[in-house]
Symmetry: C2
Subunit: 173 residues, 2 copies
């Protein structure tokens, strides 16, 4: 309803259409039907807008991980991959500290919350981080089409999920 919400919604739309680099404050303002300087009143600068979106993204990720019925390592990994490949531009923005205000308390809290879910699967801290790095790398390489350089898969997302499963089976736990 408020202008702030309109701006956020417009920015989300622009993000999905053009990626984080394609987000222009002025285009967002136009889309929201306000003047080009209106965003300044709700967000200190461009990074602040992006930070708000990223924080929202982490909240969504936390919710997605929370919905996993049986939070095994494999299940959480699959949910992580699905989230990343369903919202590629958002996922990209979330892990782009150079574009964000990393000291923002809301962003920090949202990040912490979603990362805490990853710890619930096992007590082995090394295994947690390795699994996280794996699924994170799978999302990025899949999104960028880089895995295609090694294999010719029809469905990249399915390949990523399959690889995560193979990892879960093969790792010594």
């Amino acid at each position: 309803m408020g202008v702030r919400e309109d701006l956020l919604a417009a920015a989300r739309a622009e993000l999905d259409e053009n990626g984080h680099a394609g987000i222009s404050l002025r285009a967002v303002a136009r889309r929201a039907g306000v003047s080009h300087a209106a965003p300044k009143h709700h967000f200190a600068d461009r990074a602040a807008l992006l930070t708000a979106i990223a924080a929202d993204g982490f909240a969504s990720l936390a919710a997605a991980l929370d919905q996993v019925p049986d939070p095994t390592l494999a299940a959480l990994g699959r949910a992580y991959i699905d989230f990343g490949l369903t919202h590629p531009a958002l996922f990209d923005l979330m892990f782009r500290p150079s574009e964000l205000h990393t000291d923002d308390p809301e962003l920090h809290a949202a990040t912490e919350t979603s990362l805490r879910r990853l710890k619930t699967a096992t007590d082995d801290e090394s295994l947690t981080m390795i699994s996280w790095a794996l699924v994170h790398g799978l999302v990025i390489l899949t999104r960028d089409g880089a895995l295609g350089g090694l294999t010719e898969a029809a469905d990249p997302a399915a390949t990523a999920r399959r690889l995560a499963e193979i990892f879960a089976e093969r790792i010594q736990s």
Copy 2:
């Protein structure tokens, strides 16, 4: 010597200082001591300049992987991690297809060359891709300081290397 080389060198310097988003064609031209439109003569657009740098980066990566004396999975992974953390901005650019001309033949060739090294360690294609995704994720999460969200390590790079070793030991091959 040539202006093209000067521009590339200037762009590399700007990249290391400001990251890929901080590269401005005009700033690069100023640094190289030429007019603001000179880059246009050597690179069709900004993406073309970035593509040339990325291609060079993949060549460097291939060289780094080539220098590994005993190309085991663990050794290649370590070299990959070291490369990514030694040249964070360059590594970032290399895997940023939205900023590059992905159809550029030079880029394509350089990418293929460096990826081929990753295959030399094992015949197991799944294991190759899993390992790649792991080290890639480790580089990114370490570079962005995200691993700090799960653990409080003094030396992130050492943590990344340690995790890669643990992975190599624990995976069923």
